[in-house]
Assembly symmetry: C2
Homo-oligomer: 381 residues x 2
């Protein structure tokens, strides 16, 4: 049986729900009130600012009933009812300390063992929507990586991949770029060289958070693609040597690309990026565009380089990599803040032609979450 | 007279240049070697990875001459010459501790006093390039804000503003969005309501880092625009109460927008964002889309709300704001990771029509830096 107690000063309340006792502050409750004067019913946006809520707001009265918590706030003399499930789902009276490098719920790290079950969607099924799309978007949010097969072998088909979840992020490379051997390459990606696993464009800030690579021709020998989970690599580094993990997280690297006229892209960001509370939120790793690191003190630079070297060795470890060959009409998509991709060297004989473009993962997560929300609504009807 | 000494173990050297003594590690020097086997001459990208450089690399020999530092590395037995100016500019043997909230060189905070000298560019002069564009791009990087005047009163003219420095970031709102009163608005921006100063789309991750607002019609009463330097506001908060600054920087807020079908955008990022070494790199402030904050422990939530309230009061202080009225053919551009913008309420009589779009500031900085680099090359010729 739920019960509620208001603190003597009225500045917070305690809600007992089953075994849990959850405290909520008056100001937090008032700011998150779900009534139509506080939140626009149509679009869910808050209609008032904190300046519209008195700083001395207290809970004057509280009662429970019908799955709801009814409150009267003073000095506004405003009454609001909260859904108990909503309160339980949004509670903050909990132990929220976690080790640096913790992962958001729903994120799952992987290694070469994923090779036998690469998340793969059929192009037509994905375009039709339904569970095929749900599953593929879900795999993208969980693993940061997914393949698409049986697509058209057609210039620009990669844009139809982006249409599944978002919008193209145009850059100085254009709305899309062609990946094939060039005679005077502006970028080493446009040669037949093998490339170490890397994230793209770390010299951009913000980096493009999604990359799509779509195969149109593939008769050259070699050129296999591989992907590595940067989160798995960073956490393995931490397990092996916490000082290595910390030095890469606590200092900014610098990246630069100025390989064409009118372009001079620079960034100053860490190789391992944590949220203020230690959530692992990004990995940047790219030997080609790492600039001179200047933000590590002399006393720590040897440690920094040892850590950078070890992270590279982990990334190069075949136990970490998922390798595959893209055939024409096949694509792969990566979360570029997390998953590194690489290409083996290929010969000049035959052809290899991929088209690539960037997009953003907030759009992908939004598409997935909106579809799940809609499914819940439909299930409830 | 410069001099160089190699440490007995060969793992670093000391370079005396005038009054400064700069130490550089062997591995750092080898990784940053400028020779054509290490760096591609055409595009500046590194051709090797750290795995190609022996971990036991030492400096076997060093000498100075002709403005350069000549080194021989073992075990590769590789000789490389470094430019002394380059070494001085990229030195890391320095005191790099700074108070949290430090600002990158070239960033200048501002308040209402900027009103008399708003950075403004003439549309045609900017499109012609030259110093007008240099000055305006420079002001954008320094202040995070600039106006443009005397532009065409023409649907889509805002894209010509983006063409000055980068590329449109398309979102669920389209390549651009119309800001005028709507009957059933999906977003409160499309009403006549006054809006508190805010950054746009904090529920997106990454947020769009540049916003352009371009005026096409303006005969309604009210609707003035104003901008506030979020960096100045955050630093004023810190000066007033360091605990307030810290609690907003050390905990993630949550933001959400789900005001239209198929959209459910959520983010978990702090209101005041610092780099790992304390550089102030971003501000997110938006009462409409702040979701329930869940990542602050119960013991700190009252402090968090007091800090959030005080930051809002500082942002609302007219001493912080630059106000102006956009006439047709005028636009303003803000760094959306730093500068908040607001609109005063306006009446339904007359019309007010703006077009808005997003872009990214790495492109803007790149355009500016590339132009400066080119100017240096031309000056040297």
């Amino acid at each position: 049986m739920p019960s509620v107690t208001v603190a003597p000063a009225g500045d917070y309340l305690s809600l007992s729900l089953g075994a849990s006792r959850l405290r909520f502050h008056a100001i937090w409750l008032r700011d998150n009130a779900p009534d139509p004067e506080t939140r626009a019913e149509a679009n869910g946006q808050r209609l008032i600012a904190l300046r519209d809520i008195p700083a001395e707001t207290i809970i004057a009265e509280a009662s429970l009933g019908g799955g709801g918590l009814w409150l009267r706030f003073m000095p506004e003399n405003k009454t609001v009812t909260y859904d108990l499930n909503w309160l339980q789902n949004h509670a903050y009276d909990r132990d929220i300390t976690a080790d640096p490098g913790w992962l958001s719920g729903g994120v799952e790290t992987w290694d070469a063992a994923l090779m036998v079950s690469v998340p793969t969607g059929d192009f037509a099924a994905l375009e039709a929507g339904g569970t095929a799309l749900d599953d593929w978007l879900g795999a993208m949010t969980r693993y940061g990586f997914g393949k698409i097969v049986n697509g058209p072998v057609e210039d620009g088909a990669l844009f139809r991949v982006v249409d599944l979840f978002g919008h193209v992020r145009e850059t100085n490379y254009g709305r899309h770029f062609e990946v094939r051997t060039e005679v005077n390459p502006t970028n080493l990606a446009f040669t037949g060289l093998g490339l170490q696993a890397h994230t793209d464009n770390p010299y951009r800030d913000p980096v493009p958070t999604i990359q799509v690579l779509y195969c149109l021709e593939s008769s050259a020998a070699g050129g296999e693609n591989m992907v590595v989970d940067g989160f798995a690599a960073a956490l393995r580094l931490k397990a092996e040597n916490e000082a290595y993990f910390n030095v890469l997280a606590e200092h900014c690297a610098r990246f630069e690309y100025a390989g064409e006229a009118n372009v001079c892209l620079t960034s100053r960001r860490p190789m391992i990026e944590l949220a203020p509370d230690g959530e692992l939120i990004g990995v940047r790793f790219n030997n080609r565009s790492l600039a001179a690191v200047q933000d590590v003190p002399f006393e720590k630079m040897a440690l920094y380089y040892a850590a950078y070297r070890r992270l590279g060795e982990i990334i190069d470890d075949t136990a970490m990599e998922v390798t595959f060959r893209l055939n024409p009409g096949e694509a792969f998509v990566v979360d570029n803040t997390r998953v590194l991709h690489a290409r083996k060297g290929y010969s000049g004989e035959g052809t290899r032609w991929l088209q690539g473009c960037y997009a953003d993962k907030d759009g992908l997560r939004s598409a997935y979450d909106a579809r799940r929300r809609q499914a819940l609504v439909e299930a409830a009807e």
